[in-house]
Symmetry: C2
């Protein structure tokens, strides 16, 4: 049996403005409409011998992850397990906790397949073949890693030096090396013995926990303390377990490579599977652009575009038209609240934009104009003095918290579906092309008990319209009664 | 007495996306918040001896022009006169009609000062001094033109060759020459005797009508027929006169330079005032960008911008943040429904974008997201299946037509001011934070009888939401009872 463990972290700041802190790279909608997270889960579920998933992610991303998984239309995700981090930590704590959980749930001999949520692999048969090799290595009591044959002297990845061949495509891992300088990367490329460290692994809990015990015993001890104090997330049942923040802070913030792999390789405990599949970590807009074909001028993109005297340019347009005139080698990404224009040779610096926006306190580093919520999503369409207009979409069967506002009243107009409205003591349906009014200081709730999405326009009126003017009385998603910036 | 005559035409397609067919260059909001039209009118009104204005423009731009003039806060604009063209024609018909009107209203000896609505002149004292020279020339029975000393071998302007000096800064106009080739433009620049033809003139009606009679008698005859059949615009009173479309079509579509000036100059009837003022026809984004100062990297712009490794780049941001990374010499203009990214060496090709959008039938060549109407403005905030959301602003004292829709109902929520609502037989006020409902097939009217603007959100629901689902029963602005694409 294989247990895929999906590590879903990482901000993807080089992919702003599509990737945001609250909706990072694994959740970005790609040109084909999918997400890296969804593709990763689907790739794992398509392997033989997979019955469920274990996902390690931030607690704030739990509901969004559930939504992505629900989109896979695979019943196995219903029972998927989650380890929810209170804040981002490196890979070693996540892997240690996942191993403890896997050992407890699946036994010491289940094969854990560690996958990053933001990698793209298209060749499923080659991926499955490599996993089969890795499972054999893992069942033999060693750690299996997946090495990618370099195509260029990349300085942004770690490398693994292959040692003796164990069998076809499987080598002993002689050495893990950190991100090299260019000259070194060129040597590695020429040597033929070095492969990129993909960050994917396979091992049994018994093997990896033994390796932690030998090479990082303190980390394992602190991770075990966290594991013993896991708490079910109140709104999510027994399959989503929250990690205690205080205990988690005590776990060293280091990578699995540094904590375990480098030392285990030195002792001959690691094997490398040389991958025959395509692989991308989708680290920049260049990688995203390559997901769509180029026209005769080398232009790529999606949405309404007008190109005049334009070459080698990628344009991501959403609901606006984007026109380019006399430009070359640009990446233009247009979203409802932010536009990026970057030259292809400077895509690494896109993260500096995010840093600057964060420093300015500009919301676009963190949130999209459309904000996902456990119950659906909302979009602020316009704000002005004394009013704010939102489009609100409520999923079938979902409802918002029972709440009230001290400083604003709300007009609700249903444009699609049927709303179940609680307003004061009254409970009543509001159908498409009907409206209702929620006075200030009045307890109210919005729900959707139908099987279709509910779409509603809300016009808020009041002298203060911040998201923090909310008192929650009851919430299906375990959120705080005092506002922390949302419904 | 001086009568400024403002010729307000021209599409400004090279200034897309700020300039649109229905809101062209003279109406563009400049970096300082003003418009070229407003600045032109203010410049004219600041001259001594000016009591009123005569404006020649398209009838569709009448109310927008009134709005710009109202913003000048000058009581003289209340009595301003208009000649309204049914479609764009060249300058000769406009000048001939203006001369006939000026002769009739002000007498044969009033000095007409012809100004283009899309020129920018900042040095008012130098402008006033040049006008004083021109008035003297005009009162002496000649045609005065304003020549601009060239700063570079421009091939986009016509030139005037200066002849004998008549006095300080005033020369006989030896010859009008059309847009030259580069080599010729370089010779002109070197000669020192050639000036740019600014398209501004001064003359009395008697002088210019005599010149028309000599050099373009047929044009004058057909213009006179138009003038005799001018009709007061029903919604605007006696000061706005509409030109009959059929008669106007018979007036030759040629420029005043070609029809009159070239020949008049050859006969020694024209003098050139060599302008000592700055002058720009704001013909491209480069000219607009120069209205704001550059930072140390040569970057200019307005709005929320983040610049990383960026040089020589102009960014016009409105309600989105615009980030640039590793780019140079770009012009980026972001508007609610369209984004332009153009290289500084290709700004002339921006008009090709407009051509392409027109060919595609994409609304952004013509309309802004916010559409000005005689009664105020509306903005489509969002459209989806079965619904459309608009923000509607109604000016103090204004009202929309009495109307009905066959296929949609409307929810109105007032967020600022007080609406006078007519719905069926009822007439009632709706105040801020109140709402009302207009059922399908129901006569209704929206008005604002207060002294403050009214801001309202309208949510339309129906199976068809086109602007042409409208039947008008009564309209204060003389618009057709059958829809032609507006309220």
């Amino acid at each position: 049996m294989i247990l895929p463990v999906i590590l879903s972290g990482g901000a993807g700041t080089r992919l702003w403005p599509l990737s945001r802190e609250a909706a990072p790279k694994p959740f970005m909608i790609l040109p084909d409409g999918g997400t890296l997270l969804g593709k990763t889960a689907a790739r794992a579920l398509a392997l033989p011998g997979v019955e469920s998933l274990l996902t390690v992610t931030n607690r704030e991303l739990y509901f969004a992850t559930r939504d992505v998984y629900a989109g896979l239309d695979d019943r196995r995700v219903d029972g998927a397990s989650f380890l929810l981090e209170p804040f981002g930590r490196n890979t070693a704590p996540a892997v240690a906790l996942a191993a403890l959980q896997a050992e407890s749930a699946g036994g010491p001999d289940v094969v854990m397949l560690i996958l990053a949520a933001d990698h793209l692999i298209l060749d499923q048969p080659a991926f499955a073949a490599a996993v089969a090799d890795a499972v054999e290595v893992a069942q033999g009591g060693r750690i299996a890693t997946f090495g990618i044959t370099p195509t260029h002297p990349e300085t942004g990845f770690g490398y693994i030096e292959c040692g003796a061949a164990l069998r076809d495509r499987v080598f002993s891992a002689a050495r893990f090396v950190e991100k090299p300088r260019l000259a070194t990367a060129q040597e590695y490329l020429a040597s033929g013995r070095h492969v990129w460290n993909s960050g994917m692994f396979a091992f049994t809990p018994a093997t990896v926990l033994a390796a932690f015990a030998r090479h990082a015993p303190e980390l394992l001890a602190s991770a075990r303390q966290c594991w013993q104090r896991l708490q079910p997330m109140s709104a999510a049942g027994q399959t989503a377990l929250e990690i205690d923040a205080t205990l988690f802070k005590a776990v060293p913030d280091i990578s699995i490579d540094y904590a375990v792999m480098e030392k285990a390789a030195a002792e001959g405990e690691v094997a490398v599977i040389r991958a025959a599949f395509d692989w991308s970590d989708v680290g920049s807009w260049k990688a995203v652009s390559e997901l769509v074909g180029a026209d005769k001028d080398g232009n790529r993109g999606q949405g309404e575009r007008v190109t005049v005297a334009t070459r080698g340019t990628y344009v991501h347009a959403e609901d606006r038209v984007v026109a380019t005139v006399g430009v070359e080698d640009l990446f233009i990404v247009d979203t409802p609240d932010a536009v990026l224009v970057a030259h292809r040779d400077h895509l690494q610096q896109v993260k500096d934009v995010v840093g600057e926006l964060k420093a300015r306190g500009h919301e676009s580093y963190k949130l999209h104009r459309t904000v996902a919520r456990p119950w659906g999503a909302y979009t602020v369409l316009q704000e002005g003095p004394g009013f704010k207009i939102k489009r609100i979409e409520v999923k079938p069967g979902a409802s918002l918290s029972l709440q009230l506002h001290h400083r604003r009243s709300e007009h609700w107009i249903v444009v699609r579906g049927v709303a179940d409205v609680t307003c004061g003591e009254r409970v009543y349906p509001v159908r498409a092309n009907e409206s209702t009014y929620i006075p200030v200081e009045t307890r109210h709730r919005l729900g959707n008990s139908t099987a279709e999405p509910l779409v509603m326009i809300e016009v808020q009126c009041g002298d203060y319209l911040g998201e923090d003017d909310i008192v929650r009385f009851d919430d299906h998603y375990g959120r705080a009664p005092v506002a922390t910036g949302g419904r």
